[in-house]
Amino acid sequence: MRIDALSGTSLLYNLRFRAILYQVVAVGSVVLLGLYLFSNVSEKLAEQNVATGFGFLDREAGFVISQTIIDYKPSDTYARALLAGIVNTVWVSAWGVVLATIIGLFVGIARLSRNPLLAFLAFLYVEAFRNVPLLLYLFLWYALIVTSLPSVREAWEILPHVFLSNSGLNVPSLEWTDAHTAILIALVAGGGLATLVHRRATAERIRTGNERTTWPLTTTVLLAPPLLTFLLIQPDMVLSFPEKGRFRLTGGAQLSPEFTALLIGLALSASAGIAEVVRSGILSVHKGQREAARALGMRDGLTMRLVVLPQALRVIIPPLTSSYLSLFKNSSLAIAIGYPDLVMVSNTTMNQTGQAIEGIAIFMLVYLGLSISISMFMNWYNSRVALKER
């Protein structure tokens, strides 16, 4: 018997009618609330004589941004200033993701070490970074860099040619020219070729069962294009190293104290979360899998690469995505220590133009867009490593 047939008495007892009614009420109240808020806003803005719209983006910004990756000067437009802020945000988050992943991988494996001392130290590291707010660490690192580190003249050389002082971190840098871009493109092309060779070899192995040694060919097609390009163009490979002068460090690239503190803070805090993700991923692979691989005669390296890691990755990827996303969103704390990221530039823009709604809308949309792109990329990667169920 159909449920609808029961509802002859009143329309209110018709399930389908009710479903539509609920949805109409829900959407209607959201729309009404939106209209109400909108009318309040336009009334207020009219009262305060604030201009609306995104026209201000084309006007001259007129404020200085202390450090940028792309070229920016105060006579550029607000749009350019905001772009510089976006690039700064992406720059610090990207380096943060790289560092956090490397540290997190090592700490996560150390947590599982059979050596109890090492496992204990890794445990201390993880708990110390997970249980204290990131903002506190940012203030602490910044204060340590600015007040406790030696001046530039007595800068510490923490690694060869890497100097740490109270004006930040000085690292070697490469003068980037078109020739380098050409070599990079050649390297990418070589990578493509190598992948192709590897795929065909795998396909042949699956078809015929013969395994052939492919690494000489793969290495050749990978390295030949960039090497040839290099020999053809012969660019000046000038690595610029920071040198201690009498009053300052010359050469190399300087990372400001703000950038250094933010990068260290983001990377260390996120690495603790990533370490936990890696640990639980490795733990999730059943012991029987290793034993089965050994019974098949696989060496330890092969077992790790072909049996343990592919299965651990499945468990690791989704929480790793949220770790990356939260690192990216946490980079907005830059405003607390004065690194000119998107939020800080938007804030200056809002203060100068008075157009708060547009400013906030821009940076929320940018964060939302970038967050969605990161999670789409990671979802795509996840679907590649996910279990293929038959």
Partner: protein
């Protein structure tokens, strides 16, 4: 039928797992992982060295070289921890600018909160009584902090600060965010497409942007949204932002719980003639919420730490009052490490405690004793 107790007893009776080393002595078992191979011995040595440096540094700074008496001048000369700083500033760091002679009121509030949290943490008390308990704690908190009744002096919200403010922001944020989050999770799992889409948009937008942007929005845009003549208190604005933010994250945790409930449970509830709300309230949610307790505790830890961000819109939370104490002209530049380490230890102890509780819950839920 096998009950949970049977399983637990069976586990107790099961013979101990044979370990490869079980035949050897205690000495062998202790030292093999430490110095079994040359690499391991090197790792052990390196770890001992790091531990030694850490302990020596902490002992030297905190005790051996510490400055125990005198004022800012003594600390400026000294090389170790500055205890006089704590003597002079401890109350300010904890209570902030709340009127000095009324500190007992916020202290009482914190005791009430900790007591209520302690009771909430014991699974035996997970009954309806908890709702009344928290209701009365919140009313008592409001009366005590704000005053203006029962002869208590009124304290405006601009003077609410320090650790009590951090507690208040996270506790109220979670308490109000929880029901909102549950409703959002149900809406997201709903079969009505329009309601589902609204919930998805709300949750994903909030989770896709940083908390700072929501705080900015609440502090800058909320006043514009209100009709003319109505102003919203700054603290309330931050609180609204935190509630909204918490709700989106709680919704995701609860959604995980909802997905863990087998379809048969929904169908059985329908078959018994329960309507939607009855089915949710009596059958689905009690099971789903139990599954989502560990992630909910983790969210609570995160939110307690995230309340530090309110400093950016100018509220005086615990981290801000500590920083203010450090920037007092008499002490500026002297007790930088002391202040941050004190704040870090407070956050560490509270968050680690909650984390340990969350792990206890997870074990307990896995055993299925309830």
């Amino acid at each position: 039928m096998t009950t949970a107790t049977d399983i637990a007893e069976a586990q107790l009776k099961r013979p101990a797992e044979r370990r490869p080393d079980s035949g050897r002595g205690l000495l062998h078992r202790t030292f093999k992982p430490l110095i079994g191979t040359p690499v391991n011995a090197a790792v052990t040595l390196a770890c001992l060295w790091v531990l030694w440096l850490g302990i020596k540094g902490t002992y030297g700074w905190l005790i051996a070289r510490a400055v125990t008496e005198g004022g800012p001048e003594a600390c400026k000369v000294g090389q170790g921890a500055c205890w006089p700083f704590f003597e002079a500033k401890l109350r300010f760091m904890i209570f902030g600018v709340y009127p000095y002679e009324e500190h007992w009121r916020v202290l009482l509030v914190m005791v009430l909160f900790l007591g209520a949290i302690g009771i909430t943490m014991i699974p035996r008390f997970w009954t309806k009584g908890l709702l009344y308990l928290w209701g009365s704690v919140i009313i008592a908190t409001a009366v005590l902090i704000s005053g203006g009744v029962f002869g208590l002096r009124h304290v405006p919200t601009t003077q609410w600060s320090g650790l009590p403010l951090s507690f208040l922001l996270s506790a109220v944020g979670l308490a109000l965010g929880f029901p909102l989050g549950v409703v959002l999770a149900l809406a997201r799992a709903s079969q009505l497409p329009a309601i589902r889409v609204l919930a998805v948009i709300f949750i994903e937008v909030i989770r896709g942007v940083p908390l700072i942007s929501i705080l900015f929005m609440a502090s800058v845009m909320l006043p514009l949204f209100m009709p003319s003549g109505i102003t919203v208190d700054k603290l309330l604005r931050a609180q609204i932002a935190i509630v909204i933010f918490a709700a989106a994250y709680i919704a995701e945790a609860v959604r995980g719980g909802l997905q863990a409930i087998p379809r048969g449970q929904y169908e059985a509830a329908n078959a018994m003639g329960l309507h939607y709300w009855q089915a949710m309230r009596l059958i689905v949610l009690p099971q789903a919420l139990k599954v989502s307790i560990p992630p909910l505790v983790n969210i609570s830890i995160g939110f307690f730490q995230d309340t530090t961000l309110v400093t950016i819109i100018g509220l005086l939370d615990f981290l801000t009052t500590v920083r203010t104490a450090m920037q007092d002209p008499a002490w500026v530049g002297i007790a930088v490490m002391e202040g941050y380490i004190f704040a870090a230890v407070v956050y560490l102890v509270l968050s680690y405690g909650m984390g340990a509780y969350s792990r206890f819950l997870e074990r307990r839920l896995r055993l299925g004793y309830d």
